[in-house]
Structure formats: C-alpha cells, structure tokens
C-alpha cells in the first residue's frame, strides 16, 4: 500500500529508474476528458496522469494487450469511458501519448497486442528489450513485434485442408473451415497462434471457434456478429490477405467442385466419418 505509493512516486520523480513501463488495460479519458473513471487507489490523480508522467521517464513503454495498444474491447459500443490505447485510438495514431511519442532510444510504444496476448509474446518482447536487441525495424506498421505479427493465424491451422476445398463448418463443433460461415478471420489476422499454440496444444481454431482478429486495432467492432461471416452475393467480405478477389472466387469455385468426399463429409461432422484411405505401393 504505502510502499507501492512511494515506489510509484519515485518513478514519477525520477528517483527510481524505470526500465520498462508495461501497461495493461485501456486508458480511460472519460468522463469529459478528466480521466475520473479510473483513479489510482489512494489518491485523487487519475490513472492517465500517472501513465503520462511515468511514460515520459521510462526507457521503454510496452502496451500489454489490445486494450492498452488501441483501446480494445473497452472501446466497443458507445465507448462509455472514452477508452483509447497508449499510442493508438483504434486504427488512428494518437491515443494517450500522441503519435510522435518516442522513448529515449527512439522506439514508439511497443504494442504486444492480442486479447489476450500470448504469454510468450510478452516475455520474448521483454527479453529482447533487456537484451538491447529490439530495434524499430523489428516492429510492424502498428508497433507490434514482428516475431509474432508477421505471421497469419491461418498458418498452421489444422483446418487448412478444409480451407483448400472450401469445405466449411456449418455449426459450432463441426470440423470444417470456419471462414465461410462462422466468422473466421485467420487468413487476415496477424499472429502466430497456430504455430506457437496456447495452453499446451490449443488455439482458437483448435478449440473450434473463429479467429476474431484480436491482435488488430478495431477488432472489437467488426460491423457484423462475431461468429458469422458477412457476405455479398455469397462471397465472404473479408478476403485472405494479399489475395486478389477474382482469383479467390475462381479458385473457390474450382476447389469446391474438386472436394473429396472425405473432406466434404468430415467438414460438417464433429468426429471423423471417413479416414484418409490407405494406399499400398507394392502390389
């Protein structure tokens, strides 16, 4: 309590050096710019004031999670608390610290985005900072460490074969690809969830539910229900990253007509109905 207050005061005054300021949770500017929705316990000063002051002293500033990166879920709907991120307000640069913020070494806020971020993304980012090896070119356009943000969730998804043939799940617990019907954005989402895995051998897709692109700014307001895919004339609106639309349509039509019965039948079942056939090479 008192010890915690003293320590924080020393961080503001500079008496205690701050190597890395890690912030979890959105920065709440409301009501009416006062920051009064989030006071730091034990005093009258709003949290955003503490963050501004300590950020100005810290060697590095790290946003842990999509809330402190861009505002995140707390900024959804009517954004009742006027929530934003440290250096972004949704997709727009700015946020609490402003677009021009740089730490003494020239780095912007490092956005370990994700809702939640994978624990390894946090520890590996902090390790790289401690090691002194994290440079501006290791961050992507949104300030996210490239070691996880330069992957797509689609990479390594066990449903890839279903995706290839557009053999789609129709209801939760089906084994097929979740892109066409159930809202999966794995082909556009920047993260290595299906390569690094969660809690041993998990990921959203391995758990049977859609990737909601939680590492991207604005994911909290997709403009449609999270678990359904918005379409125009039967074509999903969110196409895979870097894929021309005409090619997608042509390939989807072709692959649908070539779907093996095994893939088609298994896609809408919750367990394997047909196993891959076994071929003998020697007669």
């Amino acid at each position: 309590m008192d010890e915690a207050r003293d320590l924080i005061d020393q961080c503001v005054s500079g008496a205690t050096a701050v190597d890395v300021l890690c912030i979890e949770g959105s920065l709440l500017r409301g009501p009416r710019g006062t920051g009064g929705f989030h006071r730091f316990g034990g005093g009258a000063k709003p949290m955003i004031e503490w963050v501004r002051q300590i950020a100005a002293r810290a060697r590095h500033v790290v946003a842990i999670g999509s809330c402190s990166s861009w505002g995140g879920i707390t900024a959804a709907g009517i954004n009742p608390t006027d929530a934003c991120g440290l250096q972004y307000d949704g997709e727009a640069g700015g946020g609490l610290l402003g677009p021009d913020f740089r730490d003494p070494g020239g780095l912007p806020v490092i956005n370990v985005a994700g809702c939640p971020p994978h624990p390894d993304w946090i520890t590996e980012t902090l390790a790289a900072l401690a090691h002194g090896s994290l440079r501006a070119e290791h961050l992507d356009d949104y300030g996210r460490p490239r070691f996880f943000a330069d992957q797509l969730v689609h990479h390594g998804c066990p449903r890839n074969e279903y995706y290839e043939f557009k053999a789609s799940a129709h209801k939760p617990s089906d084994q097929g690809c979740l892109m066409e019907q159930l809202g999966c954005k794995g082909t556009q989402a920047h993260a290595d969830c299906n390569q690094r895995l969660w809690n041993g051998e998990g990921s959203c897709l391995r758990g049977g539910y859609a990737c909601i692109r939680c590492t991207d700014p604005g994911f909290e307001e997709p403009g449609h229900a999270f678990s359904t895919t918005p379409k125009i004339a039967g074509i999903p609106l969110g196409l895979p990253s870097d894929m021309p639309k005409a090619w997608f349509i042509a390939l989807a039509a072709l692959s649908k007509s070539a779907t093996p019965a095994r893939v088609r039948e298994n896609a809408t079942a919750d367990h394997m109905l047909r196993a891959p056939s076994v071929k003998r090479t020697k007669k």
Binding site: H38, G77, G207, A225
Partner: protein, 484 residues
Amino acid sequence: MSPESTRRIVGPFNRVEGDLEITLDIAEGRIAAAYVNSPLYRGFEQILQGKMPADALVLVPRICGICSVAQSAASALALADAAGIEPPKNGRLAANLTLATENLADHLTHFYLFFMPDFARADYAGRPWHAATVERFRATVGSAPNQVLPARARFMQMMGLLAGKWPHTLAVQPGGSTRPLQSSEIFRLHRTLREFREFLETVTFGARLDEVAVIAGRAQLDVWRARPGGGDLRAFLAIAEDLDLWHLGRGTDRFMSYGCYREEDRRLFPAGLWHGAASALDIAAIDEDITHAWYAAAGLPQHPATGSTLPVAEKDGAYSWCKAPRLAGQVVETGALARQVVAGHPLARDMIEGHGGSVAARVVARLLELALVLPAMERWLTELSPGEPWCITAPTAEETLGVGLIEAARGSLGHWITVRRGRIHNYQIIAPTTWNFSPRDAAGQPGALEQALAGLPASATKALPAAIHHVVRSFDPCMVCTVH
C-alpha cells in the same frame, strides 16, 4: 465521521486483481468504520446494449483475465435460458470441466501467490513459523511460488484441449461445446488431472484428497493436522491457530450460493442460502442499491433483470463504482466458504459455528474445494462419449429474456439479459466481489468486507497491521469483475 476519529485512505493493494481503495475511520485504536471503494468504472453493461445476443460471448469473458470462463459460462447459460435450449450431455460435461479448471487454478493461485505471502511480512518476525514461511511463501522468490507456477501452467493445459485457450475462449456456447474431444485427447486430460492430483496430495495436503474431503469438523481438522505428512495446508493451520485467524474477519453471517456444476438431475453444489439454517434462494429478491455508488439514481433499488447502469461523475454520498446488491434487503457473503456451507459440507458448517465467517474458514474452504472438485472432474472425464453430440444450435427469439447463474471461484455470478428486436436491450451482471465488496445501501448497511473490517485494531498514524490484508484477501477479491 465522529469528531475524535481520524480518516485514512488505504490503497492501492498489490496482489489483488484490479483497483481497490479503502477509507478507514479510526477511533480509539480501532477501525470504527470502513468504506470500500472501487476507483475504476469500465462500462461493459453499456457496451453490450444494442449488440447481437451471441456477441455477449465475445465481450463478457473480456471483463476479466482470471474469471474469464466464469463470465463465459454465465453468459452461455443466460443465452441458453433465453433460447430455451439445453446442451447435450457432452456439452454439459465439457462446460463443467472448463469452469472447474479455472476455479481450481484460481484457488491455488489465491492461496500460494496472493494470500500466504502476507505471513512472510516483517511484522511477524519472531513468530515461531516466520522463518519457514519466508523461505516458502515470500512473493516471487519463495520456494512455493517457484513450485506452484509450473504446476499451475501444466494444469492449465486442460484448457488447451477443452477450450482452445485460456483466458477468453468461445468454446463455451449456449448449446454446448465447440470442442469435440476424441478418446486419445480424453486420456491426455486424465493424465493432466492425475499430475495435478499428485501435486496437491504431496505438496498442498500431504494427504490423499479423499482423506481431506471427509474431514467433518474443526476437531477432526486438528487431529488431521497433528498427523505427519507435511504440506502447506498444515503450515497454514499452525499460523491460523497462532494468530487466531478463526476469529478474524467475521462479516455478515448470511451465506449465499447459486449452485454449480450441473449433473444429470442435480448440481454438484446446490443453490441456497444459509443463515443459521438452510433456506431456498429466491432470485427474485435480489436488488441492486446505488445510493452510495456513482450511478444516476433511478429511485428504488432495481432487480437486475430491469436494472440500469448510468454512470455520473459526481453524486452526494457516493464513494464507489461498485453497486450494492442485496438479497431481500440483506447483505450476504459469497465464495467457496458460502458455497460449501450451503452445500452442507460438515467441515464448512462447523467452521462457521458460533463465530461466523473468518479468514481461516474462507481459506480452508477453498482448499477443501480442491479436494472435492478434482475427483468430480475425473468422473466427468469418464462420462464423456466421443461420437455423441457436443453442441446444438437454436435461433434466439427476437424478444426474449434469460438469466445465467453460476459459481465462479470467488462466488456467485449472475447475468441477466433482455433481448428486443433481436438485439441486446439490457444486460446486467452481478459479480461475486460486487456482493462481498459492496458499499453501503440506502439503509446504511455496510457491505460484507466493510463489516469484516470494522473493529480491527488500527493506528491513525503508524503502519497498518497485516490483519487488514488478511481480511481483505480472505475474500479473494476480483475488482475488475466488480466494476465491469
């Protein structure tokens, strides 16, 4: 505040999830009155308005990174209620397993990482158990945290298979689970449970779980403690006796549980109310009072099904963002102790006999649940049937209502949803810590923690005694859920 009392503001609290501040009026060396304040407002109930009902499953778990599955489970139940559906057996068992994994991990974390480190404080240097407690429980460097964290991480691998990931899964649906398990995966889950059982039996209890589960009262607990076997529970019981934690932190003597873990025709832990005797729980008698909370006064206390959440920056007499839920106008305590008292566990009932809830009783009840729930999880795993359905779907009606009541690690969690024209019209949440850490109500009745702190020794100027920490933490507060 009376003229001869001094006011002190205490906060922030470390090793508490979220923001907490307590104002103490101190007179004649004791706490004359405590005012518990949540200095953070988050606005989830406002965010949910106008959303598609199913989107609640994405939004509500994100209220909290530690009670995430509990929020999902309450939401899934509310949506199932609104749609008039019931998950198939596999879906129900998977939901039990997922919630139980989170609840048990929370109990373990609370005991080892949040609660016990307070006994390593310098305040206690000189007590016979202090040196051993410092070695074992000091935050981050003790031998216990370094043993518990890997064991917990290993146990949480249950979530990778059951729910894709933790926190913030979408596997828990109104119609069941999105994650069908195949038999080899079920064997892997058995293996993980077996490892966790071994950890608890060797490290935490120094005894088999079934030996702990059948301890039927304080006297038997003392006999059990005197037996060899070691383990951290025995170490805690020695401290509890030395510091008389059995008489510290009495709150209201009313204990409430919504009941949880649905089985074929019952719940593993039933719903109810205990106030010297058992009575049925009347959900219709729940109201939220906002007299002392920063919300626009809508007049009388409101039932959550028709409640509102309209924050105001200033309001006379208000001191918290936490509303004050009451059951038939009364303050109740919720949590593992309440759950086991309501369920009729003889040790839980005996621990509150005569002196009500206490720091020791709350802590022992949590560890008792580890011994009670893990065997149930082993049973649920054997009842799963791969090949049978895991999830059903049903369209939600355009106009409907639903309620979802479950027990999170910290106690009773309720979600109330109203759907109009196919969208969420109203969504109200009462979290466990909202009950336990509520401010005063219109009648001036202090909340459960406020009552538990009143009367403790405290000085107007000197460092506050560790007992205050023990009492606060004995409730295992989760402030981010409180002020959703």
